[in-house]
Symmetry: C2
Subunit: 414 residues, 2 copies
Amino acid sequence: MAGGTRSSGIAIIGSGVAGLHLALLLQKQQIPVTLYSDQTAAQLASGRMLNTVAHHNTTVQREEALGVDHWDLTEYGYFCHHHYLGGPQPLSFPGAFRAPSRAIDYRVYLPRLLADFQERGGDFRAGPPVGPEEIFPLSQRHDLVVVATGKGGASAMFPVIAAKSPYTRPQRRLSAGLYNGIAPSHPRGVTMSIAPPHGELLEIPTYSASGHVTALLFENVPGGDTEVLADAKYDEDPAAFDRLVFEKLRAHHPEVFERVEVKRFGLTRPEDLLQGAVTPVLREDYVTLPSGRVVIALGDAHSLVDPIVGQGANSASYSAWELGTVIAEDQIFDERFARKVAARRADRVQAISDWTNLMIALPPAPHLLQLLGAMSQSPAVADEFTDNFNAPERQWDILATPERTSAFLARHGM
Amino acid sequence: MAGGTRSSGIAIIGSGVAGLHLALLLQKQQIPVTLYSDQTAAQLASGRMLNTVAHHNTTVQREEALGVDHWDLTEYGYFCHHHYLGGPQPLSFPGAFRAPSRAIDYRVYLPRLLADFQERGGDFRAGPPVGPEEIFPLSQRHDLVVVATGKGGASAMFPVIAAKSPYTRPQRRLSAGLYNGIAPSHPRGVTMSIAPPHGELLEIPTYSASGHVTALLFENVPGGDTEVLADAKYDEDPAAFDRLVFEKLRAHHPEVFERVEVKRFGLTRPEDLLQGAVTPVLREDYVTLPSGRVVIALGDAHSLVDPIVGQGANSASYSAWELGTVIAEDQIFDERFARKVAARRADRVQAISDWTNLMIALPPAPHLLQLLGAMSQSPAVADEFTDNFNAPERQWDILATPERTSAFLARHGM
């Protein structure tokens, strides 16, 4: 490294998409890096489902640049959003991407990228979770420490930015699972089905260890009719659980329900279910240790978002890319460096956080409903909203205030 | 404008380089703009010298893009810095630009650009100075108000950022004038002559109403031997003033003095002298009026710097360009817009402020002296420092801390 006094490079804690994309980018730039994880490759590949996740095309482009674009978009990609807004007069309308998105189960995705990293000579170390008390010793052995996991407690070292973290509790209770027996939509896409006031369903064509399956992510408003999906115990009675999901689809999400093949419908495997909830927070970009060393927050350690618009992985990958770029530009890892990182990624990461927080606000913001209504009337508006999943800062340009939504619609003659 | 409810476009207060570059950029993008000034074109062309100013090549490139690059660099440009560091063992060494800089007296420059703006149909309004009390009514008549002048008191509406404004009084007392009778340096360049502990002299080949002349900017440390240059009254005894300058050149700045032609030496015209001082401040990028309208600070209203490294005009032009670009991208002028502007220009504008403040610090920072010493030994180091006048954020990468300077020198094998 510059100055020649330290030589152990960058330490990345966490082998999720944030840590792996950063590790692969640094490796590509021949910057020494050590990737620490609390899971071996085999552990990453097994166990309970980690999340439901969509990689939008901007993320796919980073995967191409990193040489880890292993899943051909023709087979593995999806091409649009199908929107359904329930109510007395349901609305149904598509929105197209300019370039495809892709959803790969992380128990397939992460081990494959880890293998890429290791096959290219990458230094990967699996061990016990890295807690906050281990950050300082790590910072003495490395030029820079990056905390790229929301697990293990290390993220708590980054103060929460209260002005950007409006919720003190989850706004949705989640039930995410992989299912057989749902025919794909045409064109193949994600269905965003909104069932006021009970919550939303994201139906995502996903590739997993079971092959091409369907992820159903129920975003359940506490107290609503679908909240039970976040509590029902699959293991106690698998058939009853599948029936419950089937009934909730029938009751609230007809455009997904109409594609269900009754006999085949059901969770793919017991471990393909994740129930929980997220309290979204945005944390400071970095902290400075008493020694003067900075520690950078990345991915969930920096910005934890509800999965409702599938932006968490994209935020993490984007943020990793910006961080890796600044690391290559300026290898003095001080506060000036950390502020550069913060400034470089601020607009998109904050837009993702702000936009996601708006999407789960209760009651829904009138200007969000105004936009959804306009999307149902204007394919151009629906397409722009959809393609903005690749440019969340432009989405926030449209949604940050009611005035912005009105001005956007005025530009579309509405 | 977007939404169609307002139509009077952007109001720019101030016809300095910040206001004119912004006005020309908006005009080029066919965005309605009104340029307000407290001076007519004729007043801009006459009167006392406004400043000494160098436009580095990044600024020249913006002038090219705006179609106002009227002064051919072969004749009007300069190509390097000549450094002289006085002391028991004086150091003398050049530093080269990759592309030329240019210095045009603003009494020539500003009226020419104003003529360009008006010939292209620009709306220019000369009147009394715009005070803070007129900002609100202006904001009601325009989509956005930009305060692009340090004069008239309107800049006081932008709070000073204390953490970025280390000085409560001027660190130098200034004496800037245009002189005849100094032969150009070869290659034609600016001489930065440092006379510890008395201060610095910038000698700038400048084009003015008198033709090609020499600007001498004496940066005088209070209490030092050259401070008298900031107080001496030219009008009371022109010959005595010229003799005083001559003597100070002889005593402190031998590399400029050796090019003085005694018989021709003297101030070009009585009005070609400016004596004063600057307390540098960095102010907030914008304020939000009680009505919700934002007002943007630009140029001296945003960042007021000592002229010691000739960055003020370049900061203003850069900042105007970034502001004009964001205006073209996002015509909803709310806090989100204002924060985008702030984020976009922060790194360079703050680097200029921080670097300039370091250059006038007393006593000089040891790592600055270390860098100057290294420049005298390494043409590559001297050239990089010199060319970084075009990239102040890279200069600050080198100078922000002693560790950064050491790492930079280590990269040069020093």
